[in-house]
Amino acid sequence: MWQSLPEFGTGVLYAILVSAAYTFAVGLAAGRGQPRLLRSARLGAYATAGLTLFAIALLTYAFVTHDFRIRYVAHYSDRSMPRLYLFTALWGGQDGSLLWWLFLLSGYTTACVAWLGGRYRQLQPYVIATLMAIFGFFVVLMLFAANPFEATIAGARADGEGLNPLLQNYWMIIHPPSLYTGFVGCSVPFAFCVSALASGRLDNEWIVAVRKWMLFAFMFLSIGNALGMAWAYEELGWGGYWAWDPVENAACLPWFSAAAYVHSTMIQERRNMLKVWNVVLICITFFLTIFGTFLTRAGIISSVHAFAQSDIGKYFVGFMALVAATSAALIVWRLPKLRGKTEIEAVASREAMFVINNWALLGAATFILVATMFPKLSELWNDKVTVGPPFYNRWLAPIGLTIFALMGLAPLFGWRKTSPDALKKAFVFPTAALVVTYVLHIAFGRSLGYPAFVERDVFYPGTVGIVLQKIGSALPGLTVAIAAFNVAVVIQEFARGVAARRRSAEKRNDKESIPVALFRLLDKNRRRYGGYIVHLGICAMFIGFTGGAWSIDRETAMKPGQTYELGRYTLRYEGPRMCPGNPRCSPEEQADVTKRMIFADLTLLEGGKTLGRLSPAHFIYHRQPDSPTTEVAMRRSLREDVYTTVATVDPQSKRATFAFHVNVFVSWIWVGAMVLVGGALISLWPELSFRDVGAWSYLRASAGASAGVATSVMLAIWLCMSPTSAYAAGTRPRAPAFTDDVRRPFPLAPFGAAAAGLGFGAVVAFGRRRGR
């Protein structure tokens, strides 16, 4: 029967389905408390994961050996593609990305089952059963609608069609896997949630187990979204990094609900409250990951990211309905057990701040969700209404600012209630920082080129429009001031913690220096202080977002020798260059036979001093001549990026039309994302005690944690190295390097910051647990 790879691969998919179904059944049976069945289910889960690894290895083999009998391989690769992109083609198309999803789920399942060991024995059977049900859905989807092993109807071709050139980018090597890792990671908390509801073990311990899994998923959602922004910024060439595209929105939706959850779970742990809210948040987060996948693949909303239209949407709708119905039914069933007896006692309490923060985060997610679906929904009663970036930017500004402010406020409050004296003491320094920063910004911002108030158009007629215009106008100053407030809060929290540790040491007739006290404070309270570091990262990102208010966007046409004034810079157009063929082309460009490259060379000057050369380009791939790509050339710095693209070049007159942007503080977004990841890593690091678990277990657990964390660190370093890699030639030549005459200050700066942040995290994580 299985005489060829397509048939054999399909057979393996059937085997995964059978194995998942078997494990699901045994898992459910094990829910009655029989250890033998649980053992069988655990082994079945490992086997299902192993089969998925087998399937992915087969598909990779097909890509590497150019087995064009498989339709997916023929459609997304060709013989000229570098091997690295043959691997990335695994998730470059719809069918393969579903198998990739399953592969990541198998990794999570293996890790989760291994981690569970003897823990949560009453939950385990249902956790395994839920994970297997998710397995089942994706395998059914592949078998009936999107089989990555499906044979080419007309037989094997001589060569494939090749991967979309836009996807042949190093960001695309790591962006989808990291985003998928975040998406798929939400399956584990959902499995725990279903399990707790099904078994009735709704005390607070399971939520502790879920917290780290959700934090891990949250971290990868952050990395994935940041890498997606970096890809859009560098590859799409429109000058920005986030266009509120439906697929971008779908990717950030679970981020909001996961962020809400990692905060609200603390309330349940501390105060035994919000049990219903927490299970709802977990279910919503998982639902949104499936919804996001559905939105990308069903083709119901037009998007630059969406895969080709297909009929898999109905499967997703069915699965989403099943998830929603099952979750709702379980929650309603367990409602009497979920209802807490405690209530929020005072508004001036941390739990009240967290609840408001949760509402704001969910509010933002709901707004984005409705706005994303609005074009489709509007078709039901009217003509199609398009919702563009200005709409999102105007409306989300006040919501985002509220979340940003609450982020700083919450740590200042204590649990249950905070006395007026304690509040006064807590607010003095951050408020002073806010006021001083705001006053200084108003006083000196305009002269520095970063005014606190900017001009904004009235977007809507009437009061709402005027209010939004006023908020938008005041946004830069407010954001910077609130960022200062947030940073001051974090500094104060660290300072108070260090002071408390030193006082405590003194009482024991011991002495702790400030660095030692800081180290031990972090080591002992990783979750809390890791969270504060995440807040610092978000502050940096907000500064990066705010930079858009001071950015410059221009379009112009130039002849060779002409200059253009762009803020404090001058750009001189030197002329076009076509490679290969032109003697000024580099050897690498000369050797590239896959495409024609048309460069427009510019010299960048500041105050008459030459900073270097920028060469934006158009690449025309011989295989896809109808889809020329725009290649960006830019000079980066922490202060601003000079970002150039070329739209057209007239071969006769050599006149070229350009788009120039000075993007202020964009690099802080990448630095912030990196700090966020560093903080999340500190929070995530398992608290192991050598004495408690024994040497071998300690080593095993440390090795396991190290492997996971090392992957994250690599991604983070990759992210922070973006400025460097932007100029480096990849496996395919990029728009050529920014050839500068002066040493750029930037590339080392974020790398140093990354090394410092991550090194600090690593030192804390690896540090000995002395002084506990």
Partner: protein
């Protein structure tokens, strides 16, 4: 939990390592294509072993290990609640040390948490007493029995492992260490098909 018995544990540890090392060597020496096939073959071998072990566990043909038996003593709901209260108490101390809570609130909350922790500890002690007695009784019975004969060589390697317990005895440590399965009727364990080890014990 890995495939049953010592061979299974060895396989679980060795197979992935051998597969990865072979794939790396083959990848360097021959090419990545064959390396991928090595990974696929390793995965397939693992799947077969795992499914075999799973079915064996399902049909009761593999004994439960001591390690697994010990994990039956997973924390009860009260134990988990106790941990939660102790964690809250620890957090409260920290809040106090950084001045985020007034002395009055601290005293009130601290007293509340301590009372709750005390109640839970008493509950756990009371629950563990009966289980401890049962465990001791089971142990006495076990010691009173004559030592079992060594098994035949064919499957003796697996059963000779002194870290494995017969099915009939696996509940004892569980009940002694926290009684997670207090709700499970005692007859549950005996309803399952007896393993080879149990037959041996019975004879």
């Amino acid at each position: 939990m890995t495939p049953s018995g010592r061979p299974g544990r060895v396989l679980a540890a060795v197979l992935p390592a051998v597969t990865i090392v072979t794939a790396l060597v083959v990848g360097v020496a021959v090419g990545v294509e064959i390396s991928l096939l090595v990974i696929a073959a390793g995965a397939l071998a693992g799947v077969i072993a795992l499914l075999w072990a799973s079915v064996q566990a399902l049909t009761g043909e593999s004994p439960i290990t001591l390690e697994e038996a010990m994990t039956l003593g997973a924390p009860s709901a009260e134990e988990e609640q106790k941990r939660s209260v102790l964690r809250a108490l620890k957090d409260l101390e920290f809040e106090r040390s950084v001045g985020k809570i007034s002395e009055e609130d601290y005293a009130e909350l601290s007293a509340r948490y301590r009372t709750e922790a005390k109640r839970l500890m008493q509950l756990l002690d009371a629950g563990a007493e009966a289980d401890r007695e049962r465990a001791e009784k089971a142990l006495r019975e076990r010691l009173a029995k004559p030592p079992a004969k060594p098994e035949p060589a064919a499957d003796g390697a697996e059963h000779a492992d002194d870290k494995e317990l017969p099915e009939s005895e696996r509940e004892a440590p569980a009940r002694a260490s926290g009684a997670e399965h207090a709700e499970t009727p005692p007859s549950d364990a005996t309803n399952e098909a007896p393993s080879g080890a149990e037959s041996e014990e019975a004879s």
